[in-house]
Amino acid sequence: MATRKVNFKRPQNFLFFLNLLSLSLVILYNKSFDRLSVGVVVGLTLTIYISNLLLLKISSGDHYLLQIVSMMMSLGIIMIYRINPELGFTQVIWYVIGIMTFYLTYFIIKKITFWPKCMKLYIGASFLLFLLTLIFGSTIKGATNWIQIRGHTFQPVEVIKILFVFFLASYYVNRNKFENKYILSIIVYLHIGFLFIQKDLGSAMLFYMVFIVIFYVYENDRKFILINIIAAILMAILGYFAFGHVQIRVEAWLNPWSDISGNGYQITQSLFAIAEGGFLGKGIGNGYPSFIPEVQTDFIFSAICEELGILTGIAVIMLFLILIYRGIKISLEQKNQFYRIVALGITLTLGFQTFIILGGVTKLIPLTGITLPFLSYGGSSLVMSFAALGILQVASEYIYSEQEENYEQGTKEDN
């Protein structure tokens, strides 16, 4: 890159300069140039460069996904590094692990062709994980959805998200063998029920939205979709009256100022940050993101708005929109039905998850604690987002449909 003339038509160069400038600014802000800062600057730059270069060599599919995600990761890391240098460095390591997961997933998904046939496996694995969470789960931030292993915590629900998409895809691919929309709905609602018991409302909402959209696209019985939506609304109302924690969330959303030191605290701090930022932001280091609890995970967007401005916030939203557009396009162009549904499901998961948390921190919808994909600090959620991206990458390629597979197996694997 150094020897070649810089071509400003390539978006990656803008990203490179952005990272260089902003990270130097953060280093200046921290007044320390040490191992951590070298690690972050070199680690981030190299990871972006190598991961994108490698993708060009390996995959014939979509090359924009990873570039967009590189930008998101950069913004996240800049912000996390500014909030807490240690965490910033850890996030770079997570990024490297994420990229490795991305390629690993890519190869595994591509090599193995019997994915559509393992529907029962997906259901079984999901429920096993749910049960494990119920038995061994510990409560963090009011939700019992964490498992601790030797001091490391991870959220099984991140894995279940992907299993859920695979389950829906394999169901619709094999629908002529065992179509039964009632059993399908029961399994889906069991998922949502488990999430409800864990008080993980954000994920419950996410699973339901993904399900209902896929249902809308593929279900033949149109009336049944309507029944499902009505049932969901009834359940939501019932849930509101039956569970205190739902009421608290809604109350904090409608009127956070009335309980500003209690349940309204997070959301009001987030609103202060966004309001203070203005369109251009305060500038890196000039804001007070640490006033917001959980700022590096759920509220990273508020911190970005405060220091980099609403315009950057809007850019983040638009980046996600482009990512979604690519995902939908992949789904539209994919000939293989299984991967088509998987691509749609993953796009929906990323899209709705983003909307739920961004809407939450800006008080457009009630706040539920889930992470912002690719920007928030966090191990299991980041790694699983990259795994999902790897699957999307496979789906973006030309895949033989089942008829062709029979007599032309193996030719594709040579490249």
């Binding site: 696209v217 202060f272 203005g278 305060k282 007070y288 939203i317 996600f320 939908i328 929906l348 909307f355």
Partner: protein
């Protein structure tokens, strides 16, 4: 394109709508809500960038009223040159207690600097740091926020405060033609220079010195409201305004009283003598809807757009019986008004029926003195025709010349005014609203003495008279 693809495209459409609504909402939030949220007293952030020196505040003749300085440890100190005098207009700015008044509503302008300043400063800082600036050219060490130039006339403001003295109440003086507020004084007030020592006392004081009575205090208007009833009577056809006043009348089982029997009176005489018997009956003929509509033209039940926070004057929304309509039309009942609104009411009559939007900030200027934002006179509401307004003006001139407001008479100048004495749970509020000269109004004024007792004509009118003389002299200079 098959069905499945069509549906997938609809899904893309749905997701786009969701995300675009996020963008729209964020933009909306930033444009319309951010200021309010930012200024919440729960916001722990230091109220501005310490590196931008907060802008100053001047009166209309560039008298310095408030400014910031830096102490030795780089912290900013806000200085209020005239202590209590501007406590409700400028308000206070404090790291602990937040902001009020113009300090609050113009917070971002006062702490806003421009890019060129930023660039220049960093450059100069570096020069200084490396000792390249050998000639020691004095450079501005920090960006300076924008400054405000008010419509207030400092000399008049001081005089107004002297006139109000230590009486509870509020005085608003304005130019009826363009809406400029020339002075605005309330008592009790507080000293914004010395908040930390007095906060406990100020904030717990039952008399509420923190409240800007002129814009946020709600009071029964009493007879000054008859100006509105008169407007309604002249606007509505077929209203009988000729009455024989015997000193009292029974309206819907409620007896309206006058000080004395006024005898045979027409509308003009009724206003001059402030005849309750006449206005009670006019009100009943007009009915609630009519009174309500005219009152809303005078900005009752509406938010008056202003540079600092205002409360809405209240015309009751409940269904009134005859008795209540009667007492409402003489300015009693459940009516509640702000002194600012009454000054605007008077201005509207003075300005041929056109109520101008009140202005407190004439312009926002940057550190070089260049004007960034300037207020323009705007019509807020057309309350009536110029004929009716002139008609009422004549009646109000007679109020001062021969009616209840003779204490406001000035030799050689026609003053138009109206007195009010409003009953409430405590001692009566006394009011006087006026403008002068009646032929070419320069000054409109509203004087309120809260729970003062006595009458508007005896207690409030002399104050108005003094201020009008001072203000007209000021303008002629």
């Amino acid at each position: 394109m098959n069905k499945e693809q069509k549906r997938i495209i609809k899904v893309l459409f749905l997701l786009s709508i969701l995300f675009i609504s996020l963008i729209v909402y964020l933009t909306y939030f930033e444009l319309f809500r951010a200021e309010e949220v930012k200024n919440s007293s729960y916001n722990k952030r230091p109220a501005n960038d310490e590196y931008v020196l907060r802008g100053s505040i001047y009166d209309r003749n560039k008298t310095l009223l408030a400014y910031s300085t830096k102490s030795n440890d780089d912290a900013q100190v806000r200085n209020y040159e005239y202590n209590n005098l501007y406590s409700h207009i400028i308000g206070y700015y404090d790291n602990i207690y937040g902001q009020s008044g113009l300090e609050k509503s113009y917070n971002s302008a006062l702490s806003d600097s421009n890019v060129i300043d930023d660039v220049k400063n960093v450059f100069f800082q570096v020069l200084d740091n490396f000792k390249i600036n050998e000639e020691n050219i004095p450079l501005i060490k920090e960006s300076q926020g924008h400054s405000l130039v008010l419509t207030i006339d400092h000399a008049l403001q001081q005089y107004t405060k002297e006139q109000l003295g230590n009486r509870k109440g509020s005085i608003v003086v304005m130019n009826p033609k363009n809406g400029d507020i020339l002075s605005m004084v309330n008592y009790p007030d507080f000293n914004p220079n010395d908040l930390s020592n007095n906060w406990e006392k100020i904030s717990s004081d039952e008399e509420n010195p923190l409240i800007n009575r002129a814009t946020e205090g709600l009071y029964t208007p009493g007879s000054i409201y008859k100006i509105i009833t008169t407007t309604a009577a002249l606007e509505t056809e077929g209203i009988d305004t000729q009455f024989n006043c015997e000193g009292e009348i029974n309206i819907g089982g409620f007896i309206l009283k006058d000080q004395s029997a006024h005898g045979n009176v027409n509308l003009s005489e009724a206003l001059i003598k402030s005849c309750n018997v006449s206005f009670g009956q006019i009100g009943v003929q007009l009915g609630q809807d009519n009174l309500n509509n005219i009152s809303e033209k005078f900005m009752f039940n509406k938010k008056i757009p202003f540079d600092i926070n205002t409360k809405k004057s209240i015309f009751p929304k409940n269904k009134m019986d005859k008795a209540e309509i009667g007492s409402t039309s003489i300015g009693q009942g459940k009516l509640e008004v702000t002194p600012l609104n009454m000054a605007l009411m008077t201005s509207a009559i003075a300005n041929n029926g056109e109520m101008m939007t009140p202005n407190l900030v004439k312009s926002v200027i940057n550190s070089n003195g260049t004007i960034i934002e300037e207020s323009e006179p705007k019509v807020l509401s057309t309350v009536t025709t110029s004929e009716i307004a002139n008609n009422i003006t004549e009646m109000m001139v007679d109020v001062v010349n021969q009616g209840t407001g003779t204490q406001a008479k000035i030799n050689g100048i026609n003053v138009a005014g109206k007195t009010g004495t409003a009953q409430n749970s405590g001692k009566d509020h006394v009011w006087f609203v006026a403008f002068a000269p009646a032929e070419n109004p320069q000054i409109a004024i509203s004087v309120l003495l809260e729970n003062n007792g006595g009458s508007g004509g005896a207690n409030a009118a002399p104050i108005a008279r003094n201020i009008i003389i001072k203000a007209l002299n000021n303008i002629q200079q």
